[in-house]
Amino acid sequence: MSEAPKPEPRRPEAATVAVQDDGEDASPLQPELLISDLLRYGVAASLALVTLGTVVTFFRHPDYLVSSEALQRLTSPHPVPHTLGDVVAGALAARGQAFVMAGLLVMMAVPVMRVALSLLIFRQQKDRLYVGITATVLAMLILSFLLGAVH
C-alpha cells in the first residue's frame, strides 16, 4: 500500500511460476493476471452491493434521516444477521442491510476464491508440494467460518 500501483506488467515470463515441468511451458493460464483480475472485480462487486444496500436501507427507513433514537439501537450491542441463511432470507425480502451484508460476505469470499484459484494453478503446474500447502490454507479458511458458527 505504500507504493503507487504501476499497472502494466513488464516481464513476459513469470518469476513466481514453478520451475518444475520445463517441457510443458506456454501454459494457457496467465496466473498473475487471473489472480489480479479476480481481486479487482471481486472488490468492485462487493462495494457495488454495499452501496446498493445502503441506498435501499434509507429508502425503506425514512425515519433514519430524522430520528436520533434509532441510532442508540444501532450502535449498542444487538443481534445482527450472522448466518448465511439470515442474509439470504433478508436479501430476498429486499432488506437493505441484508444486501450490505451480502456485499461484505462477497468481500470476505474474495481472498478465499483467490486461494482456491491458486490451488487450481498449482495443480495445473503439477506442483504437488504447493498444492498441499494451498489446500491446507483453504481448509483453514473454510474451518474459520464453520468454527465461528459453532462458537
Binding site: 513488464r10 516481464r11 481481486l39 444487538h78
Partner: protein, 280 residues
C-alpha cells in the same frame, strides 16, 4: 445524531483513515478503530468486525496491482499463509475470551509498539550475504523483481522460512484479535528474518493480509460482530480513501513530517486505549 448523519460521519472518517493509511504504508484499521470507539462510542467488538472487512478490501485492491507487476512473491505468500491463517483463527477466538477490556489493552500495546517501529524505520539495512537454507530451496521461495531505479531485474534469495512462519503466526494472532492488517509486523518478519527485499516484503505482505483477515472475518461474522450498518460505510470509505491516496496524493506529500505527526498521534491514542482497558 440521526443514523443517516452517523453513517455520513463514519464514511468521512473512513475515507480519511484509508487516505492516511495508504500514505503511511499501513492499513486504515489502526487509525479507524480508535476513532470509532473513542470518538463515536461504537462497541469495540463491532469496530473490530468492521475494520477487518475493510482490511480485506484495501489489501485486495493493492494486491491486484502488486501481483500484476510480479512484485509480490506468491510462493512465499502461500507458504506463510499457513501460519497467518492459523494465527488469525486463534486471535479471533482469543478476542472473544478476553473481552472488550482485554482487546483495548492489547491494542494500546500494539499501537505504542508500531509507533516505535515507525520511529526506527530509517536505520541502516543489514547487507551481509543471505545464508543458504535447505528448506527455502526445497520450497523454491527464491525469486526476482524489477527494480525501477536500477532499471533491471534483481534476483534475491530467501532464508529462515521457519523463523518467518513463527513470526507470521504472531502477526496473524494480532490481526485476528484486533481486526487490523498488522502489516507493521509482517513486513519486518520478511524483511529482517527472511531477508526478502523491502519492496517485495511490502508487496507480499499486502497480498497476504487479505487471506489473514478473511480467516478471522469468518469467525467475527459467525459471532455476529460484523454489523452491516457500521461495516458497510467503513468498507466503502476506507477503500475509497486508500485508492485516492495511492493514486493521487502519494507523490505530493512530504512523508517525513507526516510520519512524525502520526507517531505522536499513535502514542496519544495508545495511551487513551490503555487507560480505557485499565479502568473503564
Amino acid at each position: 445524531m440521526t443514523p443517516f448523519l452517523f453513517m455520513i460521519v463514519v464514511l468521512g472518517f473512513s475515507v480519511g483513515a484509508g487516505l492516511l493509511g495508504s500514505l503511511l504504508g499501513i492499513g486504515g484499521g489502526l487509525i479507524l478503530i480508535p476513532v470509532l470507539t473513542l470518538l463515536l462510542k461504537v462497541d469495540i467488538q463491532y469496530a473490530v468486525g468492521a475494520s477487518i472487512v475493510s482490511v480485506i478490501a484495501t489489501s485486495s485492491g493493492a494486491a491486484a496491482a502488486y501481483v500484476r507487476d510480479r512484485m509480490a512473491n506468491t510462493r512465499v505468500a502461500m507458504f506463510l499463509e499457513l501460519a497467518t491463517t492459523a494465527g488469525a483463527l486463534s486471535g479471533a477466538f482469543m478476542s472473544g475470551l478476553v473481552g472488550g477490556r482485554g482487546v483495548y489493552l492489547v491494542f494500546g500495546c500494539v499501537m505504542a509498539g508500531s509507533a516505535l517501529v515507525m520511529l526506527r524505520r530509517m536505520r541502516a539495512r543489514d547487507e551481509a550475504p543471505v545464508p543458504a537454507d535447505a528448506l527455502a530451496d526445497r520450497l523454491a521461495l527464491h525469486g526476482s523483481y524489477w527494480d525501477e531505479s536500477r532499471g533491471r531485474e534483481v534476483p534475491y534469495r530467501v532464508t529462515r522460512p521457519l523463523a518467518g512462519l513463527g513470526l507470521m503466526y504472531v502477526a496473524g494472532t494480532v490481526s485476528g484479535m484486533l481486526g487490523i492488517g498488522s502489516g507493521a509486523l509482517k513486513v519486518p518478519a520478511m524483511d529482517l528474518a527472511m531477508r526478502l527485499p523491502l519492496k517485495v516484503s511490502t508487496a507480499t505482505s499486502n497480498f497476504m493480509i487479505g487471506v489473514t483477515a478473511a480467516a478471522s472475518a469468518g469467525v467475527y461474522f459467525a459471532r455476529g460482530n460484523i454489523d452491516p450498518f457500521i461495516a458497510g460505510p467503513v468498507c466503502v470509505g476506507v477503500t475509497l480513501g486508500a485508492w485516492l491516496g495511492s493514486r493521487h496524493l502519494m507523490a505530493r506529500v512530504n512523508s517525513t513530517w507526516l510520519r512524525a505527526l502520526f507517531v505522536g498521534v499513535l502514542l496519544w491514542v495508545a495511551f487513551e486505549m490503555l487507560r480505557k482497558g485499565w479502568a473503564p
